[in-house]
Subunit: 251 residues, 2 copies
């Protein structure tokens, strides 16, 4: 089975959570947005979303073609891929639990994206800077600690099992790696300060980065660098709005 991943090549975004699973499993896949040639790449994605003949049209990227199936919504793609790539539990209860965690990751991702786009994704960041600042202050004070504390609890802390679901690697672990990497890029000072409070999460990030297929992927040109176009964006003034005023107060 050759999978086709449809997601913009301009940033890691939500597509990266799918890419990490495909890469870890050394799956056969094509990153459609990166194909060059007439009608390929970004053009192929736009055409697909508009195509009236598509039986199950996606509302948005990313989506995956798996044979005759077209699957959208990141967590839904991973729900489908997980068992096929050996990255999900065998039992239905285990799969629901993995999916539940992945949906919680998706919720956090949206909140991270809103730190720089709280008013409208159709506007530029510079058109909503005061709102972004106010949003980010609350996000860093209230929301981020709640999410990270929850994930650390699921991992069972420093003496835990070391993975999010059951006793072996799942796509949720790969997503946690990406979350920590993204947060380090967006809020470097905050993460440096708070990470000691989440030892299991940091250990999971380190072990994941060291996995041979993931390490090879991260070094390859297939890994798009973090930049200022995706969910994870580094605007120093947003973090500064918290740390500049109350240097040791958070979380």
């Amino acid at each position: 089975m050759r999978y086709e991943l449809y997601y913009t090549a301009s940033n890691q975004g939500r597509g990266e959570f799918v890419r990490l699973a495909l890469e870890e499993a050394a799956a056969d896949y094509v990153d459609v947005a990166r194909l060059s040639g007439p009608g390929q790449g970004a053009e192929a994605i736009a055409r697909f979303i508009q195509d009236a003949a598509v039986e199950h049209p996606p509302f948005a990227q990313p989506f995956l073609k798996a044979g005759k199936l077209v699957i959208a919504q990141t967590a839904n793609i991973l729900l489908h891929l997980g068992p096929r790539l050996g990255l999900a539990p065998k039992s239905e209860a285990g799969r629901l639990w993995a999916h539940q965690l992945q949906l919680t990751v998706a919720d956090l991702l949206k909140e991270i994206q809103d730190t720089h786009h709280p008013i409208a994704h159709g506007l530029y960041y510079h058109e909503q800077k005061p709102e972004a600042l106010r949003y980010t202050q609350h996000f860093l004070a209230e929301r981020l600690p709640k999410y990270l504390g929850y994930f650390e609890r699921v991992l069972g802390g420093a003496k835990g099992r070391g993975c999010m679901v059951g006793r072996s690697l799942s796509y949720v672990d790969l997503s946690m790696f990406q979350l920590v990497e993204g947060l380090r890029f967006v809020f470097p000072r905050t993460m440096q300060r708070v990470e000691p409070g989440y030892p299991a999460l940091v250990a999971l990030r380190d072990r994941t980065a060291a996995r041979p297929n993931i390490a090879a992927y991260l070094k390859s040109t297939r890994r798009i660098p973090f930049n200022d176009r995706g969910i994870f964006r580094h605007y120093p003034e947003l973090e500064e709005s918290v740390w500049g005023q109350t240097p040791m107060a958070l979380p």
Copy 2:
């Protein structure tokens, strides 16, 4: 199987999407927050979320106890319940498609919630009114038409199949009913103006409301009325910010 639904009794919120499925199927369930007695109701929910002994702790409400399973995330609960209540397709492809649509409903719900809480859910609405106004203008102009147009397209328009998934009722149809009801409560003028553009969606809403089990539920005291505490809140000034200035311009 007696299901136990855990969700605040103070408003319909996300729990309502689960309730509608349970009610349509005449399933045996307990709405835990509405039990009275020592240690029951809201107290039981808080205790459950904090309980260190829970193997798969929910990050947030709603969650469902189904025998030994504890399932959180609204769409995940419906993924599990759908086939058991006869409200989901039989094929895996059909179930993924239903779930994909439900996740898109969840995305829209979050955007609706943010119309009155764009900065922080830990603040009151009156503490973020200017931002709510600006957010809502963009939401009504850009986002709502995109979502409603997508759902109408999935229904196939006025000559379509009349249901969201395949050829029979699914939990997604019940969720579409709730979306239209909620939007009518929040943005009555907008909905009155735009609904003729979405005939299949309106017809689906009407047919769903007329189903015997749903009609009985809506008339019962089990249906919590819309109010000013949930996702769907009616703040006339938000809608006015669009309609007052450009009465016929949207969408």
